[in-house]
Amino acid sequence: MVDPAFLLVSGLVVATSILAIESRQLVYGAVNLALMFLAVAGMFILLDAPFIAMFQIFVNVGAVAILVLFTVMLVSTERWARVPRGREFWAALGTSGLTVLALVSIVARTGLADVPPPPAAPTVGPEIGVVMLGNYGVALVLLGILLAASVIGAVALAKVEKG
């Protein structure tokens, strides 16, 4: 018996991600991307990781989706807003179908379907902080450098240089 909450959330994840790729207007695609992020946060809650879920909502829905939507509106011209369904459709479907087949065959062989979830308390922050700063402190600082570089790079890329 599958948990109905899981069914609902996973259905939402899959449906919104398909819509994000397939919706005619790019703005609707961006909205569906935001909903997909939200549904993935629900997935994290089901996986007893509420802190990650909040992080996901805060960062991906609150920041990334807004940036994406802003860019979509910024560069939006009617000329390419509608995606034509060409010959690549079957190629793309075939590629992704093959990916799924390969992965399903791997997972089916490992017998992971029978693994029962071990009992666990939800992780709400302090434990994550301990692991993050205790074991991965250097990675955290490197991540800071990466983020800093990405801001400088993005600003330097997006600005206009007039002669």
Binding site: V13, I21, F37, F44, F55, E88, P118, P119, L157
Partner: protein
Amino acid sequence: MTTLADFLTVSMVLLAIGVYGLVRSRNAIRMLFAVEIIISAANINLVAFSRFSNPMDLTGQVFALFSIAIGAAEAAVGLAIIILVFRLTGDVDIAALRRLRK
């Protein structure tokens, strides 16, 4: 009872949708959507393995945190590139990028 395989299935389907989007779309923004979907699939995998293998060890969750952060940085830079391309060519079609090689 939800098992590990259920979560893995969802993440695989997400990966497949992402790959499909990457292959199919010629619009740079749409490709960015696909990349974000693939990153989400990876995050679900990380957290699911962390939850089912050893819940006391939170390495997987910390990796998911890092992964989301890197996804955000990637989106910022990617969108800046898209805006740059749009300003140079007036389009975000991938075919338009080919003209930049000169």
